[in-house]
Amino acid sequence: MRGTGKYLPIVPVLAAYALLLLYGVATPGKWQLVAQLAFYCALGQAFNLFMGMTGYVDFGYVAFLGVGTYGMAVTISSLSDGGLGLGIILIGFLVAAVFSTLLAMAVGAVALRLRGAYFAIATIGVNEGFRYLIEGARIWNGADGIIFSRHLKTALGRKMAMSVSTFWADIFVFGVAVLAAVLTLYYLRNKVGYALLALREDEDAAKVMGIDVTRFKIIAFITSAALAGLLGASGWALKLTYVYPPDVFEIHYTVEAIIIVLLGGAGTLMGPIAGGLIYGVSKYFLAITLPGFQLLIFAPIIIAIIVIFPEGLVGILKGKVHGTRLEKYVI
């Protein structure tokens, strides 16, 4: 595929996000749901960038969201008197991305040397390990967490702070989702994606062909982690204006990311959107009709998908549109 045509699949993605955003803005009372859906789509997009493309499961993924949240929290709580205005949020995002990139480099340096089951074993402790480092060594206030709503008000003024945490934080989440989708498509259509595809199918063969698999794994791992950091900074830190270790290092978010990616189809561009929307909407209605049962219902669904539909929704759709004019829009 050559020319601009190879980036056509971004059209349905952007359309989906634009429609979601429009629905949220136009329908009173549904903004929270839309924000939640955008968060799930972004989470899926970011997680898919590594898990979907490489076939490696990172059970400690939520740790990257956690340190991203801390990045924003630490920035705002320590720079609020600097008179930076809205610039503080920009710095916060930068710090969040840097924090999660650093953690990804530290974890990746060990875990990415390992394969398959050993990789999963190495990552499963990352979120617990990091949480207990923060609590144990009393870094960033330790187990007490950081509450920075006051600092946000000092930095931006009461009114602006309110609108940041009730509206703009969610818009930033949309931004992260789009950024993740663009990066995914760019990788899929370039050397990184081809190398990772070869790696996912047969790592040894890819190595023999002269592909520097470790390099491409690191690229995908760090990109995915940095996006998670940005997502944590916007969807959690700015929205909630506090951070508390047991909340942000909660393994359930990794489970949600896995469900979303698998539902939609691992390694596809549109999969996480489909998965995120289905998961978000069904969770929303389950929370109303059957509170407390979401995980109990979703866990068997993961198993059912893996055993019965391993290619996911978009994977099936890809098979259906193969050879038709829609083919170039679906990936």
């Binding site: 490696y56 207990y132 609590e135 060594a137 996912r200 866990a299 893996i306």
Partner: protein, 361 residues
Amino acid sequence: MFFEQLSGNLVQGLVLGSVYGMATMGLSLIFGVLQVVNVGHGAFIMVGAFTALILFQSLGVPPIFAIPVALVIGMLLGMLFYYGAVKPLVSPSGTGIRKVGRKQLGKAAGVFVAVMIAMRILSGILDLNIAFSIFIAIILMYSFLVYVYGGRRQEKGPELATLLVTFSLGVILEEVVKQIFTSEARGYNWDLGKLDLGFTVLPLTKILASGGSLTVAVLLYLWFNKTRAGMAMRSVVEDSVGARVCGVNVDWQYALSFSLGIGLTVTSGVLLTMFIPVGINPYMGGGYTLKAFVIAVLGGLASPYGAFFGGIVFGLLENGSYTLLAALPGGEPFALTRFFSFVMLLVILLIRPTGLLRRKG
């Protein structure tokens, strides 16, 4: 004073470590035979802990007699989960990929609706929670699909698939237990007296737990080395194709070792309750999953005895490091030991992924 504390902690670590070792043997057994990492390991330990708690609190059964009950419960759970979820992914006699057709899907949907209606009627009669019956309906529909398509095997990514499946099984167990017993932390008090060693005091229950895990380890060793059934299982670990050629029923060995592995893990949950006076809750397993991984990797991942000795080493290191970390100013030693076990995992994986005790060929 410091050394007295350290030696006291090391003795405690030795006792706890032997139970850790036993808690990891099941993980290693399953990995050795099926090449499946049971990511939901901790949840099975939790089931064992609840077994001990319930038997003790409502029936007055001393935990030591809960061991056989836990073993049976664990083996049944193992069989159920193996045939229900793991087998289609790992079975050596899979029949290749078959697509699920529309007709079959329609059939499955029909079964689901029928089960839903039945559950709805039943929940009227038996006062079953509606949500719970929906859950059971999903499970039944799922079992139906697996029954129809059992033997279907995925061509690629079995590792990813088994990781996610075992993880989800763990989540299911946690959530079911949460629905029944709520997520509050519970505990029980079983007192047999204490043994005073001068520098530390050991409750007899802990010594009993340690003895129990040692007995299980020895029995497992004898079973693997002296009986035909045990040797058949070992032959699958060594070379599953060769074992099949020699007439070993590899399918059955897979099922048996998964079930035995889960049985051992649930049993170890009973023994672990002697060390946690008030820590029994549905989500207690997470920490033990992490510890079990460290221990299994210490012992070489595929070897149950390696795991047992790995457990003892880990117990000593954990409790020893607690004393040292407590000496550091300004830290929380308990949280830091948990961080320490994570760092240890990474270090071992980096320098000796084949385990500390032996090098696999």
